[in-house]
């Protein structure tokens, strides 16, 4: 299953990069969303995939019984998900505002700082 997940991560990265290289500004946003999903999944897969053993300590015990999934990677991704949403919200509003002012969606025509 690890190999399959690696392929999923690779595909997400490739699609994200392709979208970020487009000239249309909305495609840049789509690329950004795909990229954050890809990065989260990358960390998750790199830490190792475990089924049926969430990192929880059972009642009355001081440590989990047996091997559990890597809690550190999950904590990192939790942080990353929330931050990427914040960044995405900011980017979407920024792009919307830029489009309102310059009235173009082609990034090649947004080269000048003067409008």
């Amino acid at each position: 299953m690890d190999t399959i997940m690696a392929l999923v991560v690779g595909t997400l990265y490739a699609t994200a990069l392709y979208m970020m290289l487009r000239r249309s500004i909305i495609k840049l946003v789509i690329g950004l969303i795909l990229l954050s999903n890809a990065a989260n999944l990358l960390i998750f897969t790199a830490a190792g995939l475990t089924t049926g053993a969430p990192p929880l300590v059972p009642d009355g015990a001081s440590a989990p019984v047996g091997a559990v999934a890597d809690p550190l990677a999950q904590a990192l991704i939790l942080t990353a998900i929330v931050i990427s949403f914040g960044v995405l919200a900011f980017a979407v509003v920024l792009i919307h505002r830029a489009y309102e002012i310059v009235k173009v969606d082609d990034m090649d025509q947004m080269k000048d700082t003067d409008t």
């Binding site: 299953m1 190999t3 399959i4 690696a6 999923v8 690779g10 595909t11 997400l12 990265y13 490739a14 990069l17 392709y18 979208m19 290289l21 000239r23 249309s24 500004i25 909305i26 495609k27 840049l28 789509i30 969303i33 795909l34 999903n37 989260n40 999944l41 998750f44 897969t45 830490a47 475990t50 089924t51 969430p54 990192p55 929880l56 300590v57 009642d59 015990a61 001081s62 989990p64 559990v68 809690p71 550190l72 999950q74 904590a75 991704i77 939790l78 942080t79 929330v82 949403f85 914040g86 960044v87 919200a89 900011f90 979407v92 509003v93 792009i95 505002r97 309102e100 969606d105 990034m107």
Partner: protein, 768 residues
């Protein structure tokens, strides 16, 4: 010793206030420090003459094994005495020369800092410390050449000097690192005994060339000599101090210092003696061509620096003796002559020999001192310059056969021209018809005369009693340069021999050249002027223009203003570097791990991939949003299926919010049009696939090998006992890594403020 080196910096800090308090006598007051240092250094003379060297050690960065060590032997003591001794007179002189200058106090700060740097340079035993002081002298020199910063010429000259010497400094740094690798130490005191190991090391030639590059730029050797005459834009005390007596000799000092470690090879002999001889001759020719007082002196300094390099390169005991003798003689007479040039400028307002004449009645002391110093420059009995010149001729005659012919000829020719230049310097302004000058000339005040009188008198004293200089310092200095004891036998009169004959010839021819100065200059000008377009100074200008052009080109290339090209550059670099490293360093093919594939997992994976692929080809904005939602929920399912329930829940929530946000905004945004050309799309898909492939490969490799255990074990074990939490992920977020979470909250808050501000601003725009 540490205090002695650093006292100049300390005084520099308080100099402005002291100078203000002392008023007219500020120069005399501040000169107390260099004068005190001179006497303090002089107190080491007997010990150094008897034992050879003293080592002072202070810890600096003990953790890195970098110490501040000072090495005092004949050579460094000679330099330290010259620096502090001449420094004393320079500070006194500056007090008078720049008395009315509004920036006199700034001048004191920089010149004292320079003096301290120079002392550090010649006394440091640690190569790193030496390099730091070396660069400090370049920087202070820059500030002093550009002292009249409102004058464009001065600024340009300062920059030129800085770029040439600091460029050499970079090479020197690299050379030092190689030297330390070859010699096994950063301490000069140890490197001096590692000569054989260094000379046989494979890195010898590269490190020699790098160090020579540094030394040659600093000491204005051909082809880097052009910056020195331009540096004469500095006030005269600076020219006398930095650009004749001390800083430009730093390169020579380094060569002399490293002679026992690096010298004695054919490369050393050829490079130093030929570059030195060429510099000597170039300096002499340019000196006789110049008419500006300071310019002529500057070129004669170039000549002297070439002579010193030549002598160090020859490597014979006589040459070592000649080098230290010439060094002392030159500092004495050239310092005096520069200070006199300043007096002439100060008292008459003239800077050119052609505007000066018949001043001996008005400036009797100056004229007498100038005559003494010029006699020493020409090398005439009974001055110290004569002793040095005899030794110089003796050294070139006794040079190794391979270089003897060119260096003897060049030395004789240079001597002829320098005798002529000395005659111009010593005779021209004071004799002949009186020429009217812009200022009414009168004798200089004591502050200006103290330096030249003392220096010229010392030149006469050492000429009459050369044994005095020899026993006190020169024998020890020559031993330090040569690496073994040297018999000096300095004397005015050695009987009738070849050096004396050469001296007489140079004197006769030199006086003839002086009598026909205008004619000789015209001949030189006719032959040399057309060629100057191709000279090294033009090379410097082309180099600077080239730098501007290249930076222009690379800025256009890298800062092109297209986001996608920035991303492309970064990604291609990443893929190429990582891919290359993987192929060459870690050629392992990972085995696919297909264990544990279940149909529902496969379905989720397939859905995510298909949704992502369709998201990039669709032209419908709403369709893209829906597909992105599918990708997000697919990822959430992966989290949930692989034991990360909290992450999964968060992902579902955030994904829902994202979709809502996009749906709200998407129809206010432009449509999705294909703007790129097909070629660009093929290129981008290629790069995208390469990045995806690289990441797949890396992930597979990571899953096979763990190079070190994860730190997660600590969190798993201590979550309950230490933090009393059963959900380990939550405990990490709010307890173990709580600061990270605080950072996350801050980012979110900033993003929220940004979003709010952008919406709010729009509202205000509409109101207008």
């Amino acid at each position: 010793m540490l205090l002695a080196v650093l006292s100049g910096f300390l005084l520099a800090f308080v100099a402005p206030w002291l100078a203000r308090a002392a008023g007219r006598y500020s120069g005399w007051l501040l000169a107390l420090l260099p004068a005190g240092l001179t006497f303090w250094f002089a107190s080491f003379l007997p010990e150094v003459a008897a034992h050879g060297s003293i080592l002072f050690e202070y810890p600096w960065v003990p953790g890195l094994d970098v110490g501040l060590t000072f090495y005092l032997d004949g050579l460094s003591l000679l330099f330290a005495l010259l620096i502090s001794g001449i420094g004393t007179f320079i500070v006194i002189y500056a007090g008078g020369y720049l008395a009315d200058h509004p920036d006199l106090r700034r001048f004191y700060v920089v010149i004292l800092a320079f003096m301290a740097s120079m002392l550090g340079l010649v006394l440091s035993s640690n190569l790193i410390a030496l390099f730091v002081f070396w660069e400090l002298t370049s920087i202070t020199s820059y500030l002093l050449i550009g002292f009249d910063h409102e004058d464009e010429k001065a600024r340009k000259a300062a920059l030129q000097g800085l770029i040439v010497t600091v460029g050499g400094g970079l090479a020197l740094m690299a050379g030092f690192v190689l030297l330390a690798m070859a010699g096994g130490s950063y301490e000069l005191a140890e490197l001096l005994h590692e000569g054989d190991a260094i000379r046989d090391h494979a890195l010898y030639l590269p490190l020699l060339l790098l160090i020579l590059f540094g030394a040659f730029t600093k000491s204005a050797q051909v082809p880097f000599h052009f910056w020195l005459p331009n540096a004469m834009a500095a006030p005269t005390p600076v020219s006398a101090y930095l650009h004749s007596a001390t800083m430009v000799k730093a390169g020579v000092y380094l060569l002399a210092r490293l002679n026992p470690s690096l010298g004695g090879t054919d490369a050393w002999l050829l490079l130093l003696s030929l570059f030195g001889a060429l510099t000597m001759f170039t300096g002499a020719v340019m000196a006789i061509r110049s008419t500006g007082v300071k310019r002529m002196l500057a070129y004669s300094t170039v000549m002297a620096l070439g002579t010193l390099t030549l002598l160090i390169g020859l490597g014979t005991p006589t040459a070592a003796a000649a080098a230290v003798t010439f060094l002392l003689a030159h500092s004495l007479y050239k310092g005096a002559l520069f200070l006199i040039a300043g007096i002439l400028d100060h008292e008459t307002g003239c800077k050119d020999f052609r505007d000066l004449g018949g001043l001996r009645g008005k400036l009797p002391v100056t004229a007498a001192v100038a005559a003494l110093a010029a006699l020493s420059l020409a090398g005439i009995l009974p001055l110290f310059g004569f002793v040095a010149k005899e030794l110089l001729f003796e050294s070139v005659i006794g040079a190794p056969w391979i270089v003897v012919a060119p260096v003897t000829l060049l030395a004789l020719a240079s001597a002829v021209l320098i005798v002529a230049a000395a005659a111009v310097v010593g005779i021209r302004p004071y004799f002949g018809p009186t020429v009217p000058t812009p200022k009414h000339p009168h004798e200089a005040p004591p502050a200006l005369l103290a330096g030249p009188v003392t220096l010229a008198a010392l030149g006469l004293l050492f000429g009459l009693y050369p044994a005095l200089a020899e026993h006190q310092i020169l024998a020890a200095a020559a031993r330090a340069v040569h690496g073994a004891p040297v018999e000096l036998n300095l004397a005015l009169w050695h009987g009738f021999n070849l050096p004396l004959l050469m001296s007489l010839v140079s004197l006769g021819l030199g006086l003839w050249v002086f009598s026909r100065w205008e004619f000789v200059r015209a001949r030189f000008d006719r032959h040399l002027e057309p060629r100057e377009r191709f000279g090294p100074e033009r090379g410097y200008e082309l180099f600077m223009e080239g730098i501007v052009r290249i930076s222009d080109w690379q800025t256009r290339l890298l800062q092109n203003g297209y986001l996608r090209y920035y991303i492309l550059t970064i990604v291609i670099t990443l893929v190429a570097l990582t891919g290359y490293t993987l192929l060459t360093r870690y050629p392992v093919v990972p085995t696919p791990n297909l264990a544990g594939i279940e149909i529902h997992l496969l379905a989720v994976a397939l859905m995510t991939v298909l949704a992502a692929l369709f998201a990039i080809i669709t032209h419908s904005r709403l369709g893209a949003v829906a597909l992105l939602g599918a990708v997000g929920f697919g990822v959430a399912l992966v989290f949930i299926l692989f034991s990360a329930p909290d992450v999964g829940i968060t992902q579902v929530l955030v994904e829902t919010l994202t979709v809502i946000l996009l749906v709200l905004v998407i129809f206010r945004l432009p449509g999705m049009y294909a703007l790129s050309r097909p070629r660009a799309r093929y290129r981008d898909s290629g790069v995208a696939v390469a990045l995806g492939g690289l990441l797949v490969w890396l992930l597979l490799l990571i899953q096979e090998t763990r190079f070190f255990p994860s730190i997660s074990a600590y969190f798993i074990e201590n979550s309950q006992p230490l933090a009393h939490g059963r959900n380990i992920v939550n405990v990490i977020l709010v307890d173990f890594r709580a600061l990270d979470t605080l950072g996350e909250i801050t980012v979110l808050a900033l993003a929220a403020v940004g979003v709010y501000a952008m919406i709010k601003l729009r509202a205000e725009d509409r109101q207008k």
